[in-house]
């Protein structure tokens, strides 16, 4: 993989993120909301977005692994690998921080309240366990087949992040559901 292809992929991924962020901001331009209302609105939107993000992330993996089985990692499109890397890093950042980086501090603090922090921790626990489970599975797989270091990292990261995002999405949706 040449460096320029890789950089183009990274830049395309980042550009896509900025475009989506811009559209979201533009759609909210005429909504005069209090801090609490805004936190509620964003929290609900996150609960809806997380399962969708997990599906996008997993479909990227399906595409990657189908190409890998056809001719090795090298044949997988460079742009797709870069996009995966950008999305993985963003999802990890979202999991590890309060998220909504472009919002005001008071909104971010309120969105990351006690229940959200508990849900996030639980999701991270699931992510860790799935990543370790995948690492064990990959280790066993290497006894029967050749697995490159990069493929192993890709699998461990993908399953770990996907499990964490799915769990977080489930917990957030359940939390918003009225009794």
């Amino acid at each position: 993989m040449s460096m320029s292809d890789f950089m183009w992929g990274l830049m395309a991924g980042l550009a896509a993120v900025l475009v989506v962020g811009g559209i979201v901001k533009w759609r909210r331009r005429d909504m005069p909301l209090t801090v609490a209302e805004k936190a509620e609105y964003l929290s609900k939107r996150r609960a809806r977005m997380l399962p969708a993000l997990a599906v996008i992330f997993l479909s990227q993996q399906a595409s990657f692994f189908s190409q890998m089985s056809e001719g090795g990692h090298v044949s997988a499109e460079k742009a797709k690998i870069s996009a995966w890397l950008v999305l993985s890093a963003l999802l990890l950042l979202g999991l590890a921080t309060k998220g909504f980086w472009f919002e005001k501090k008071e909104v971010r603090d309120l969105i990351d309240d006690e229940n959200t922090r508990a849900n996030r921790s639980e999701a991270m626990r699931w992510g860790f366990l799935f990543a370790m489970g995948t690492a064990i599975a990959v280790y066993i797989l290497t006894m029967f087949d050749t697995v490159t270091g990069r493929e192993a990292v890709h699998m461990v990261m993908s399953f770990g992040i996907a499990a964490a995002i799915l769990r977080w999405g489930f917990l957030e949706r359940r939390a918003h559901r009225d009794a």
Binding site: A36, E114, A175, H176, A179
Partner: protein, 68 residues
């Protein structure tokens, strides 16, 4: 039989004529957190339990109890 933290958050909140959003604003959390505590899905920290009890003008023991 596992123990669980029961509460009368909803009854008391309704009694005082508060919505989940209003109570949430008083204690500095989102409506989602109040909702999960009310439903028994989430066990609040001691800090949040005290804040909720204060906002609902009850003691923590009156608001929460252990159910077996």
């Amino acid at each position: 039989m596992p123990e669980r933290l029961a509460n009368k958050l909803k009854d008391r909140r309704t009694e005082l004529g508060l919505t989940q959003a209003e109570l949430a604003e008083r204690v500095g959390v989102t409506r989602k957190t109040v909702n999960t505590v009310e439903n028994g899905v989430f066990t609040p920290s001691a800090t949040l339990a005290i804040k909720l009890a204060k906002a609902l003008e009850l003691s923590v023991e009156q608001l929460f109890w252990i159910e077996r």
